[in-house]
Each structure stands twice: as structure tokens, then as C-alpha cells.
Subunit: 271 residues, 2 copies
């Protein structure tokens, strides 16, 4: 595992490192995260899925409501359709383990129905948000557990391009919606990727009050991201150009402008 100096340089770029604090192998593991989009077909060790889900369930969950679920999808035909939803991301078909994390308010709704009562506090945006955050905290624990086992991964937010189709494919009842997918497996040779630089810490971390001054953070970060992109066979665009490309047009949303209506139709009133 790399020490703090090398790990912080990889994450922030030479000259942009924050001060090094306490350090250990777990922190080195966290800093070494890379999203991997090419997998070997090799199966995972027996019961890896159970270990990842145990890690996921060990994450905090709001008021212990546990309003998330996960579907492990093996069926190649379903994987193919999920890959289509996500703009033909081939690694969804390729990875040995594919998980769809779900915001799930239906389990508690069934509980209330069985008890002859209703959950008056559930039809709000807050409940969907709690469920999505629960799912994210759980998934991130699964990611850390996977990486500790030498397994690569990548989140698939593009399942939100068409949550209606994903819900139909997975047989989701009302009150359940996909939040994102997760590919897990061994990185294919040459696809291990490189640690991606992030914005300088001072752009993200504020003290006492929010500081809206850019203070040159973006100017320093743009060439780092352009160099990273050039090294990784993408167009050598700055971060600024990438943000504008991703959010500058409705077309780039790939249908996610319809997410609100789709969630309401899936049984989240979002009041």
C-alpha cells in the first residue's frame, strides 16, 4: 500500500496535496479507488456476495428503517437490457457480479399493511431521499469491502436513464426504484485504470461557513484533468469542458429529466 505522500499526490496532483494526517492501510485502500470498466470473466470466491452485503448492511441507516434493497442480476438477457438502458455499457454484461441498489419504501409499507396501519410520514420527498442515501451508504461499504478483496467496481448511475424499464425488468413493486447499479469483478488486464485527480481539497472543504471564492482551484485542476484524460485515451478535455458537456444540454441527460415523473409513477409521491 502506498504511503500518504504518494497517495495524496496521485489523488490531488503534485503540488496540490493537502497536509498529511494519520495513515493506515485502510485509508491507503480508500485513496486508491478507481472506477473500472473492463472485467475478466473469472468468478468471485464462494460467498463473496454475502460478505459484500453484510458490509453493506453494516452501514448506518436512518432511524434503522433500512429502506433499501439490492438485486443481484445474473441472467444474461436481463443484463443485456440493463446495459441498453445505461447507453450500452458493455461491462454490465461482462462483470461476474452485477448489483442494482434500490430505494425501497415498500418493505415498510407491507409491514404497516400487515399491522393494519398506514405510514402517514412516508409519501414525502424526505422518504425517497432517506432511501436513496441509505442505498448509497450501503453500496459504498460494499465497494470498500470489494476493493479490500482486490475486486474492482464501477457505479452505474445511467440505470436512471430509464427507471421504469429497470423496474419492469426486476419486477419491482410500488415504492421501490433503482438508484444505481454496481459492477464488481477482477479488472481486465490493462483496464485497472489510474487514480483520477479530484478538485483541490480547499474547493470542497469549508471552515465554519461556505466559501464561494474559487481562489484559482479550477484553473489549477483543469490541466491536471486534461493530462489525466490524455493518458487514459479520452479526449484531452479540461474539467470545465467536461462539466459543461455533461450538464450544458438537455440531451446529455439521456432521459433523466423525466426521473421525477417516473419515480412518482413507481409509487414515490415525493410530496
Amino acid at each position: 500500500m502506498p504511503g500518504p505522500a504518494a497517495a495524496l499526490t496521485a489523488r490531488y496532483g503534485a503540488g496540490a496535496e493537502p497536509k498529511a494526517g494519520p495513515w493506515n492501510d485502510t485509508i491507503a485502500l480508500l485513496l486508491s479507488h478507481r472506477s473500472v470498466r473492463g472485467y475478466r470473466p473469472d468468478p468471485l470466491p464462494a460467498h463473496t456476495l454475502e460478505t459484500l452485503i453484510a458490509a453493506a448492511q453494516s452501514a448506518a441507516t436512518s432511524s434503522n428503517l433500512q429502506t433499501w434493497s439490492v438485486v443481484a442480476v445474473d441472467d444474461p438477457a436481463v443484463r443485456k437490457e440493463l446495459a441498453e438502458v445505461a447507453g450500452n455499457q458493455k461491462h454490465i454484461e461482462q462483470c461476474p457480479l452485477f448489483l442494482v441498489f434500490l430505494a425501497d419504501t415498500s418493505r415498510n409499507a407491507r409491514l404497516a399493511e400487515a399491522e393494519g396501519t398506514e405510514l402517514a410520514g412516508q409519501p414525502f420527498l424526505e422518504s425517497f431521499l432517506v432511501a436513496a442515501i441509505d442505498a448509497a451508504l450501503a453500496a459504498q461499504n460494499a465497494v470498500v469491502a470489494a476493493e479490500s478483496l482486490g475486486l474492482a467496481n464501477v457505479y452505474i448511475g445511467a440505470l436512471r436513464n430509464d427507471v421504469t424499464r429497470v423496474a419492469r425488468l426486476l419486477g419491482l413493486p410500488p415504492g421501490v426504484a433503482p438508484v444505481f447499479g454496481l459492477c464488481v469483478g477482477y479488472a481486465a488486464e490493462g483496464r485497472e485504470g489510474e487514480v483520477k485527480p479530484r478538485l483541490p481539497q480547499a474547493a470542497v472543504l469549508h471552515r465554519e461557513r461556505y466559501d464561494a471564492e474559487d481562489a484559482g482551484h479550477r484553473a489549477a485542476y483543469d490541466p491536471r484533468m486534461a493530462a489525466f484524460s490524455a493518458r487514459n485515451e479520452m479526449a484531452a478535455d479540461t474539467w470545465t469542458k467536461r462539466v459543461i458537456a455533461r450538464l450544458g444540454t438537455m440531451r446529455a441527460l439521456n432521459g433523466r429529466d423525466r426521473l421525477k415523473d417516473a419515480l412518482i409513477a413507481l409509487g414515490f409521491p415525493l410530496r
Copy 2:
């Protein structure tokens, strides 16, 4: 660190353990998570904050948009007001490090403004959701890093009781909203807590398609949670009773039924 058998029994209860898969100290750390609500005043080692934020920034972020920020709040007067928002949770005033994680679409909005363009894809529910998920993935990495250093923590979702007041206290510009807080510090003596049992894995993990059958999961879990509650000086309520108490009434939402309107006023159109 406990081995898989002891860790899985603590997390799921005797007789409810999933099959044990691959194991290591990082996975043992993840399974040992507890939320801690009492802290010693002892300060953290120098630059712990920078280490936690480096871990947080190393988490995946949708399209590398990095639409989250965090404020470290030391000012006792502000801590006191934040504790009030959260229903007088004293640990917010007590813990040596208190972080407020933010959904932040304003950094990219400022970028676009500086470039003389607009982000047509930003005023949607999707953008708020991406920002909240980004914040959650980042925060969970900070939590894992903190726990690896022997530091306890607890998420404070109750900051959402009044996001308007939190935004004012922290000077948040339009397009920034608090998602949750996080206390970090050394657990006070006797406040280390006990690993909380979760629902059986089969209640949360589905294979191929969602399975809405309860199959006795709740009946098995209820007495485990009642026993946990009794041991931890809470009323010996079942999980079923706690879910209904938390979500059965509007009053229990503590104002979070107004979250949608408050977010819109803070500059998230949520289209």
C-alpha cells in the same frame, strides 16, 4: 478484529447469519460499525480532517461532477444552533469534529457563469439526487477512514428538520443544501455502543427479481431488536413498533414534510 463467525452473529443474531465468504480486517472493521452518541472532548490527531476529506474525495462521484461540499463547524454558538435544529442532540456540541455534508450544484453553476454559459441539465430532481448520492458516498468513505483510526461517529439526518436554518447558519449560496451532519470523535466511556442487528440478509438481497415475500424475516428480527433495545437502555420495542412510531405520523417527521419546498427555495428547482 473479530473473525467472520463472531462478526456475522453480532450483525445478524445467532442463527440468522449469512454464509461466511472471504474475510479480512477491513471487512471486520466495516461489520463492527456502531453509531456513537457520546464523545470525549479529546482533540483529534493533527490533520485528521484532511485525511478524512481525502478519503471522502476518493469515493466515486457521478461523471466526476463532484457536486458535494462539506463544512467543518467549530464555533460553539453555531454548534448549539445546529443541535437545536436536530432536536437537541447534545453530541453535536460535544464531539471534537462536526461536519455538515452538502449537496452542491452551485460550484458548477459558478463555473458555467464564468464561462458565459448555462447548465440546462441542472434544474432537475436528477441533479439534486446526484449531489445527495455524491455526498453520501463521500461521507461513508470518511466514516470508514475515521473508524479505521479508532474514531467513532454518528450521522445526523435531523439537520433536515430545518434545512433553511442550517443554510442560513452556514452561509450557503443558492444551489447548496445540507444533506446530513456527521459527528466524529473518541467514544466516551460506556458510550461505545453495541453492533445493532439488521434484518436477515434474505430480506434485503434479492436474486434476479425482487421478492416481496416476507418469509418470516420480520418475525425473526423483531425479538432481536427488542432485546438489543432493552440492553441499550431504550424501551424494549420491536422493530415493527419502531418503524410505525417513526413513520406512522406526520408529527414524527419533525418538519421534514416541508423539505421539498425548502429545497426549492434554496435553489434546487427539482423539475
